[in-house]
Symmetry: C2
Subunit: 154 residues, 2 copies
């Protein structure tokens, strides 16, 4: 199963970018994983809000048939173990690709949250979107070590 993260812009914090690189390369030993940084228009042909325009960009970047997970603090929380079981469930359902959608400073549009297959909350607290990226990659890596029965996750 392929996991693809959709980023609206490049990761600005250098130390976070470093962390994402570290965990991405570890994760790739276990599964097909990629990050796509979408190109936002410098000047949007603004008909709606920035959040709505970003939502359109995110949704058109999701391949047909992919399972979509939108990161939203109002979503469901999982323990690391239950998130690992969730991934196994997706595999058993024959899902080939999961796309993770992370919003900008204003969050995700209702078009994105409304159409997502799962709303996932990492914490009740608000973190920078850069940090959310790092947390998610680390949790994906942790999930695969849990699935493999390895020591890291303890």
């Amino acid at each position: 199963m392929k996991h693809e993260l959709l980023f609206l812009s490049r990761t600005k914090d250098v130390f976070i970018a470093e962390g994402i690189k570290t965990y991405s390369s570890r994760l790739k030993h276990y599964t097909n994983f990629s990050i796509s940084t979408l190109k936002e228009k410098k000047k949007w042909h603004r008909t709606k809000s920035l959040k709505d325009d970003q939502g359109v960009l995110l949704l058109k970047s999701v391949p047909t048939g992919a399972f979509t997970v939108a990161l939203d603090s109002r979503g469901s929380q999982f323990s690391s173990e239950s998130f690992a079981r969730k991934i196994e469930e997706w595999e058993m359902r024959g899902i080939k690709q999961v796309n993770y959608l992370i919003g900008g400073p204003e969050g995700l549009s209702s078009d994105v949250t409304g159409s997502a297959d799962l709303l996932l909350s990492l914490s009740k607290m608000t973190f920078t979107h850069d940090m959310v990226r790092l947390f998610l990659v680390e949790q994906l890596y942790r999930a695969y070590t849990i699935k493999a029965g390895e020591k890291y996750h303890k």
Copy 2:
């Protein structure tokens, strides 16, 4: 009010250490803040488990009268806004120092969690203790920007 984080060992991930440094220096513009890295004995005079010995070290490093917050995934979750309100509540109660206790790989001993004034959970998910440190420093910084009515936290 002073916030002091007690770390059981130095932060191993270089990128996390970098992030902690960044947010610590930002936080210091708002409040008295420090991190104490406790010195674990190379060879404990092991009477109990490592977790218990670490618990003893943590508890004896807390100054008399300090308010203690133990990081534990079974603890209370707060939104960033309600965490900021919590800090204001402590200030109004005249608390002079808050100590944050973060466990090692085995977590915190029941002596620590049982005697803490607050059990705080950042997420249902498990993160590395290095990451927990970074999350906490970022949330403290965020709380002070919320208290100051500043833009960062959005």
